[in-house]
């Protein structure tokens, strides 16, 4: 069976649409709310679901705080799998990607982790502290079944590493817009256009940009290069400000997606 992310992106390409992806921390403020927020976002193409970790070194203050609160509220990898099963049983067909740190995977046990991902309907994995050189084990464990795929990240300073990273990349390539951590408002890397152009030229799969994006207008300068945008920290801020209101999630998602495709 075709991977759900790849199927979704193939359809978007046929429709000549850009993809919109949001990030939410699983269990913030609780799993019910997370489920409602995911379901409400009709216009969002792919959901990135953060499994909280105690030491999120690739995240800025917003997602750090979200992770901390979610852990205190009882969120965990196992609860994340339960949420996935529930969403799938309730008919959610949207691609969902787990964003998590490698210790969470190692703590679960690689084989068990991959089995649970496949069984619960996790379509992809973003592991920010697992660069190409350390991916051998997980790639081996994921081999032979397209249900769950590993998403590759590239950064503005990846340069000569890009071809190797893109070689067997699946789904989409996650282009980090700046060096450092998530949620640095409006401070894209000074070379961002050249860098995105470079990645796009070399990539056989769609190119998404994330880190520091708030509105569709933020990606106007690179609208002819990228195939979609990812919003994390800002989405969490919005959710928090609205008291985690699913209606606000829907409104933001509709608005962003419409604007993104009319830039």
């Amino acid at each position: 069976m075709e991977n759900r992310i790849e199927a979704c992106l193939r359809e978007l390409k046929q429709k000549n649409e850009k993809a919109f992806i949001t990030y939410i921390t699983a269990g913030l403020p609780d799993m019910d709310k997370t489920a409602q927020i995911i379901k409400a976002q009709e216009s969002t193409d792919i959901i990135e679901l953060g499994i909280p970790f105690s030491d999120p070194i690739a995240d800025g203050p917003v997602i750090q705080q979200a992770s901390y609160e979610a852990i205190l509220a009882g969120s965990s990898l196992q609860k994340g799998f339960e949420l996935m099963k529930r969403l799938r049983s309730e008919g959610v067909k949207k691609p969902i990607v787990f964003m998590l740190y490698y210790n969470t995977v190692v703590g679960c046990g690689l084989e068990k982790f991959v089995t649970e991902c496949r069984e619960s309907g996790v379509d992809g994995l973003i592991i920010p502290d697992l660069p190409l050189e350390e991916q051998e084990e997980i790639k081996e464990a994921l081999k032979g079944d397209d249900t769950t795929i590993l998403i590759e990240l590239v950064s503005p300073v990846s340069k000569d590493r890009i071809p190797e990273i893109l070689k067997d990349a699946r789904g989409f390539v996650y282009c980090v817009s700046s060096m450092g951590v998530t949620g640095q408002d409006g401070s894209f890397h000074r070379e961002v256009i050249n860098y995105l152009t470079d990645v796009k030229k070399q990539s056989k799969i769609p190119v998404m940009m994330g880190f520091g994006i708030k509105t569709a207008d933020d990606v106007r300068p690179m609208k002819d290069i990228i195939d979609g945008a990812i919003v994390g920290s800002h989405f969490i801020k919005l959710m928090r400000a609205s008291g985690f209101d699913p209606k606000e999630a829907k409104r933001y998602s509709d608005e962003f997606k419409t604007e993104l495709n009319s830039l």
């Binding site: 030491d55 750090q64 901390y68 852990i71 703590g107 050189e133 350390e134 990846s158 590493r161 450092g180």
Partner: protein, 395 residues
């Protein structure tokens, strides 16, 4: 997999893609530097003229008599800035300069690495920012003041446990943002490759000297070498030249806090499982969900839930033995060394002393051991005083 980044199954480079080219750049510059006689000459010049090396290998007469075996102390406490940390800082800062970096950042627990880094930054006129857990800022107020006097900016880190682990997270985040012009000086034998290797290289001077000094004094190698282990920088330096000497027993004292049967300890080898933190795979205190657990030790420098990857490897292969030492045992040993030899050790080093005095009871008069006194206790006087008044120790 980058095989050379591993010690057995431990080590590696678990960092974001943004840092991979930086690590490669550091690795190449480091390998080149340590093969460049001029770099080595400079490094040794500063160790001798600025740090005051070599440090003595002091024969602890009264302790030796009391325990019926030969006890030598490697006096890293006599280094400029009061601990072994400066050895590594000077090596890394010379490397940073060689690489053309203008700014340096560091994490610190007890403040010793922060002070050493701020010192090096003052010496070489570099801009320095030190990340320190808010809890440690309180516990080590004197060191904060010293860093500020030296011109460093101290950033109190408020997240998680507010200690060394969190300071390291924040330093790594800042580094990922600024690596283009900033060098991150890691103080312990932890972090992504090549950091554990660099720290070992620059701390190996401890065992190179000690080996030679012991040969001169005793005409043979020591039977046992003991050092405390938090992240493991003084211990890897103290072990380095003895690892290939199978006759020398290597013992690391890890912090057992209130006891390894409680939840308040920092004994990652005794109670942890392999996991990923701060860019490396190693033993790690963690819960069933894979979240890192808070470490506890009366000593800020050992208050760390992980350990350097080479120590994990030495532990698994049995080459070194790691023994948990409680707060109480360490403080008793601290007082014993102070009153028997007139040397106030850092609380970190007192863990090694406690472990050594236990070991000494099994040894014969003809045998000898070296204890690494990694730092002096001046910075700990407030903690010691609180502890003693709490226990009524001096009454």
């Amino acid at each position: 997999m980058n095989k050379k980044a591993y010690y057995g199954e431990y080590g590696g480079q678990f960092v974001s893609e943004s840092l991979m080219n930086t690590l490669d750049e550091i690795d190449r510059a480091f390998e080149e530097a340590i093969r460049d006689p001029e770099f080595i000459r400079q490094y040794h010049y500063y160790l001798k003229q600025y740090v005051g090396r070599e440090t003595p290998l002091y024969f602890a007469e009264r302790l030796s008599e009391k325990y019926g075996t030969k006890i030598y102390l490697k006096r890293e406490d006599l280094n400029h800035t009061g601990a072994h940390k400066i050895n590594n800082v000077l090596g890394q800062i010379l490397l940073a300069k060689r690489m053309g970096k203008k700014k340096i950042i560091a994490e610190t627990g007890a403040g010793q690495h922060g002070v050493a880094t701020a010192t090096g930054a003052a010496l070489f006129n570099m801009e320095c920012t030190v990340y320190m857990g808010k809890e440690d800022v309180k516990r080590q107020a004197l060191n904060v003041m010293r860093m500020e006097m030296l011109g460093a900016k101290v950033v109190p880190v408020e997240s998680g446990s507010n200690t060394l682990k969190d300071a390291t997270n924040e330093a790594i985040r800042t580094w990922a943002k600024t690596a283009e012009d900033t060098f991150y000086i890691i103080g312990s034998a932890v972090g992504p490759y090549p950091y554990p290797k660099m720290v070992k290289e620059f701390q190996a001077v401890i065992s190179r000297e000690a080996k030679k000094q012991h040969m001169e004094a005793e005409g043979k190698l020591p039977d046992t070498v003991i050092a405390c282990v938090g992240g493991g920088s003084n211990s890897i330096g103290m072990f380095a030249d003895f690892i290939d000497e199978p006759g020398v027993e290597l013992i690391g004292a890890e912090a057992a806090g209130k006891g390894i049967e409680t939840k308040e300890h920092a004994a990652s080898m005794a109670k942890g499982h392999p996991g990923i933190l701060h860019g490396m795979k190693s033993y790690l205190l963690q819960d069933e969900d894979g979240n890192v657990q808070l470490a506890h030790s009366i000593s800020a420098g050992l208050d760390y839930p992980g350990v350097g990857p080479e120590h994990a490897y030495l532990h698994d292969t049995g080459r070194a033995k790691y023994v948990p030492v409680t707060d109480v045992e360490a403080m008793d040993a601290l007082m014993e060394l102070t009153q028997t030899e007139g040397i106030i050790p850092a609380i970190e080093s007192a863990h090694a002393v406690a472990c050594a005095l236990k070991k000494a009871k099994e040894m014969t008069p003809g045998q000898s051991m070296i204890i690494c006194i990694s730092g002096r206790g001046d910075k700990d006087v407030n903690t010691i005083s609180d502890y003693l008044s709490g226990k009524g120790y001096l009454n």
